[in-house]
Amino acid sequence: MIGARALMVALEKEGVKEVFGLPGGANLPMYDELYKSNIRHILVRHEQDAAHMADGFGRVSRKPGVCFATSGPGATNLLTGIATAQADSAPMVAVTGQVPVAMIGKDAFQESDIIGMANPAVKYSYQPRTPEEIPEVVKQGFYIAETGRPGPVLLDIPKDVQQNEGKFTFPDEVRIPGYHPWTDPDIPSIEKAIELLLSAEKPIILAGGGVIISSAFAELQSVAEMLMIPVVTTFKGKGAFPENHPLSLGPIGMHGHAEANKIMTEADCVLAIGTRFSDRSVGTFEEFERNLKIIHMDVDPAEIGKNQTTSVAVVGDVQASLRIMVKMLLKKALKSNDGNPWSKHVKEVKDYWRENLKLHPGEMGAAKILRKLREVLPKESIVTTEVGQHQMWASLFYDVIQPGTFFSSTGLGTMGWGFPAAIGAKTARPDVPVVDIAGDGSFNMTEHSLATSVLEDLPVIVFLINNYSLGMVAQWQRTFYDRRMIGIDLKKCPDYVKLAESYGAQGIRAQSMDELEKAIKSGLNSDVATVIDIPIDPEEDVLPFVAPGTSLKDMILPS
């Protein structure tokens, strides 16, 4: 057996059914064995899209998505996708071809030191130097990618290592001496956390992406309901808790819900679950932790105390920690929260902002079109987003009802992520509708993936909120640079209906609510991808807005 064959066998043993990729000189032996295997190949038009597809697949299925690229530019094209997965703790295994071992370091054609380049962007990387190493590095790579705090793993395989014969043993278990992905939650810390929460006057729960990664939805809901305390999320944690739940206040942060930011800043004790306290979520670190006791649950011990000072730390898988907390709470006689002044206040603030947040007056205002999307989409639909204003409007106005159905590039903020990630999500869940909430600037970056969507029979809807500009940059230029607008005008180019049609997809322009509803329904019933081009007012801003370097208290509201 040759190394490339061993790779396919090892991937099949990991349960891999599809890989996203693009062949080239240095990974041809892999492709030749892929041809003979039962693994489906999904051809992309740019390697970055393959990484984003694998990422979307991984976030939805919670198993590593796999992408293939050749050496040199193929590998470097993956980098943005790998860094995106790392920033959002998404499981991924990226497999690159490399020049033959003897050519490494000779500046060979299409040689790049991808191990070196990718180092800060991967959870781990391997470059097997003999074919015999392949089964073990695949086994270890998958284990590392999907356990603990998930992340991307890179396997860089020289061409001769793919081609050479070897004697292979496929391990069933892995042993990595320096890797301890999980620690058992510390019971006394959870006990202490409960004491703090019960003695707090104004407690709150802040749910982060870790809740979604560990599927701790039921546990989170139980804790919130038992304690009857309000739940805010980070943007990455959006949809960790049903957003139509009476205790839900939605995401906090730079473009958080007004009520969420308001109540977060008033709270005296927070149970923060699976969050790294990103600056985009909490504003200035010093201001956030003032007069706030922080209970921090996280699987990654390095997150404890990194950005915020904690009163109680609970290290471990958050689902396991929350389960223990639920059990402990069941044994306690909890007081009813009826008439509790904090609960009453939270409800008043929430009701006020849900009624009174000033929205864009036009028929096709962002809030209106996103609420229409929510109304028409079945609740189990999966939504991804691109990066920009549309993403923040999605955070504000698209309520996630079924937990774990909303995904976005929240950490790295990679424009062009949403569409290929939606295709990856559709690969993992062909049974549910998948929608990419997009902006025109972001969609431009990976719109060629329409070819993959159409030809690979992976129909998704691109809900294109089109302001003919790089809207978020435009908003900052309007707000902070005295309207000196530069580098943001995309004009009416391309025509997205024609663009979609040229790829064999469906293109629909929606200029009224009526047309929009029809277009969404048409997309849901379509066998091919649907691009819904929704022109909006290019001057519409995302509000509320917490300016960078300020605190959540300094939220700018619509005037």
Partner: protein, 163 residues
Amino acid sequence: MITMWAILSIKVENKPGILFKVTHLFRSRNFNIDSISVGITENPKFSRMTITTIGDEKQIAQIVKQLDKMIDTIEVRRLDENNTVYRELVMFKIKVSKPEDSMEINKLASAYDAKIHDAKKESIMVEITSTPHQIAAFEELAKKFGILEIARTGITALQRSKH
């Protein structure tokens, strides 16, 4: 924030590329490396890195956690300075301007338990193995002759046994 000095002892797998990963971590997390020394341990499967760093309490705690998180690190310890033997080896090339300098440099070296190598008419090479404090004191005294070149190994350290 009070800035302090810390000695970190890091046991890693003895594989290629790990020194790169450790130093890259310091760079990408905005930490400082004051000195670093690396060598194989009693078990050839592992190497030990001794890194001295400067930061406040929070930063040093974060460095230890980030190093611990690395898959290639087997054990990361912040050594207790008072209970650790730590030494650095430094070579000085000291200028000899007049004949009596040679004698004086010899005396200074012997006061610091340093060895003389390569004594020439114009310069003397001195090797000293000591604590950073002692080495700094030696350096200060050697300055009056003129220091032509310095090469240092970085600190290496082992914690004393408990009993």
